[in-house]
Structures are given as C-alpha cells and as structure tokens.
Symmetry: none
Subunit: 129 residues, 2 copies
DNA sequence: CACCTTGTTCACGAGTCGATCACCGCCTGA
DNA sequence: TCAGGCGGTGATCGACTCGTGAACAAGGTG
C-alpha cells in the first residue's frame, strides 16, 4: 500500500529524517537547509550508521572521483554539516571523528547537556567505542 | 478529515484557504487574486506542504510538459506568487527556496520571533526567523 | 482598433555554492 | 618540551543559481 507520493525512500537516524527524493532534512520539527554536497555527504554517512567511513570512500561516493592526496574537501564539508546539524539540534552529536581512520555517523541519545557542574565538555577524548 | 459542510476541494495551509473549484484564494480575511498559472502553481506547492518540489516536477504538473533546460518560468511564477502572497499577508513566508533542489511550501507556524533558547523549534539552521 | 490582462522570455544584479588555501589547536612520540 | 602529523574551520574566489523588473507576444473585450 503505497502512500500517495512515492517517497518511501526516507532515512531516519535519531531525530533526523532524510528524504532522499526531495533533498530534504528534518530535525526535531525543523528543516535543515543543506547544499547539494552537504546533503550527499550526510546521506553517505547515514547509510552506514555506526560504521567508520574512510575519507577516500566518502569522496568516491559523494564526488564520484578518487580523493587526491592533500584534498581536504571531506573535512571541510563534514565541518559544515556538523555546524548545520548542531544549529538545528544543539548539543546533539552526530558525526564522530576517528583520527587516522575516518568518520562515523551515530546519533547520540540526548545526554545531560545542561550540567553546569560538570562543565568540561572539552573534547570527547573520553569517547571511545 | 472532511468536516461536514466543508467541501474537500478546499485546501488550507496556515491562514490560506484555497478553493480548488473556484480558483479562489483567501488569506487573512482578504482575497488574493491570482492568474491561472499562479493559482495552479500554488496548488501544486500546497499539495505537498513541507516537501521540496523540484522545478521539473512543478513544471510538469502545472504546464503539463517537460521543463526545458534554461527555462526560468517556474522561478518567475514563484516570484509573482511570493509577491502577491506577501502583499496579502506581509511578513509571512510561504515559499522557501532550497538551492539545488527546488521549492518548498510551508506557512510559518507563528511569530515567536526572539526565542533563541526555545530549543528545537522551527528555528532550524536554514529557517530564517 | 485601442486597451488590458496574461504568459513567456530576456537580462542583469545579488546571493550561494564548491574548491582550495591558510592558520590554528590537539595529540603523540621522542 | 619540542616537532610533526592530523583535523577543524574561517577566508577567498570563480562559477553558478536565483530573484525580479522589463520587453514582447497573444488573446479578450468594448
């Protein structure tokens, strides 16, 4: 039973809803406006929730060519994505860096964000799998 | 969800009321006078409230033929529509542009302008206030 | 025919995107 | 503690996308 409008191609991850056909991302009631590249990158990441993707792989998937040494495009777009996702859902962390390996997408169950006593939210150096 | 007395050929979105049979649009007490194309375009957009429609899709729906490369008709009519809607309801934003993807119709919920701490409201990244 | 409305196309300016560079901070190992 | 590798991100710039006023054509009306 197909819902009118063949847009069953919807990815969900945490409170994120990604409509592949439309290029639309909703997050907790709001709409996140992404550029084409940002959207493609997000999709590539979400399709492997929980898994680590190497930059070469991401680049090949999104850009369609081989990543050349020294090309920081992936990093830059990950940064942009993070920025927009954080604007939409402050405090939530979606994209995790694995130094030397790549990136991993994983929505976190909302943690205690407002805990002034434990003020050190520096880096997630404590965050290991 | 047809309320008795309501013909289901009436679309509503926010404070807009679109009577399909009559080609009539009411907004906030007044009547918005649209040309045929403008009306069809509005209907096409409203029928997918919250979703992004690509230009090709809009053109196919409204014009009935395939959009040719370089044809800016959709943009022009979106502009005209915006202009008339804004004249009818100043400040309200209905049609949102998603660069690289298309247009999205969504009436703004209400005007809680300055409430940055409101967590996850409509204030996602791209959504202007 | 003169006039008005509508739809189409053109053209220009403004704004956005994408690729790249540059600089900075963190981490690690010696 | 210092140096080097790695990653985050602001800045820049060319190319492209959009917004929109205006010109033009077609059709309707008196």
């Amino acid at each position: 039973m197909a819902i009118p409008g063949d847009r069953d191609d919807v990815l969900r991850a945490g409170e994120l809803e990604i409509r592949l056909g439309e290029g639309l991302v909703r997050a907790g009631g709001g709409v996140v406006t992404l550029s084409v590249r940002e959207f493609q990158l997000l999709v590539a990441l979400v399709r492997r929730v929980g898994g680590i993707l190497r930059r070469e792989e991401l680049y090949r998937t999104v850009w369609g060519t081989e990543l050349r040494p020294g090309d920081r495009s992936v990093d830059v777009y990950v940064s942009k994505l993070r920025s927009k996702l954080d604007a939409a859902m402050p405090g939530q962390r979606f994209i995790h860096t694995h130094p030397g390996f790549g990136y991993r997408f994983q929505p976190q169950p909302s943690r205690n964000l407002d805990n002034p006593a434990a003020g050190r939210m520096q880096t997630a150096s404590g965050e290991r799998l």
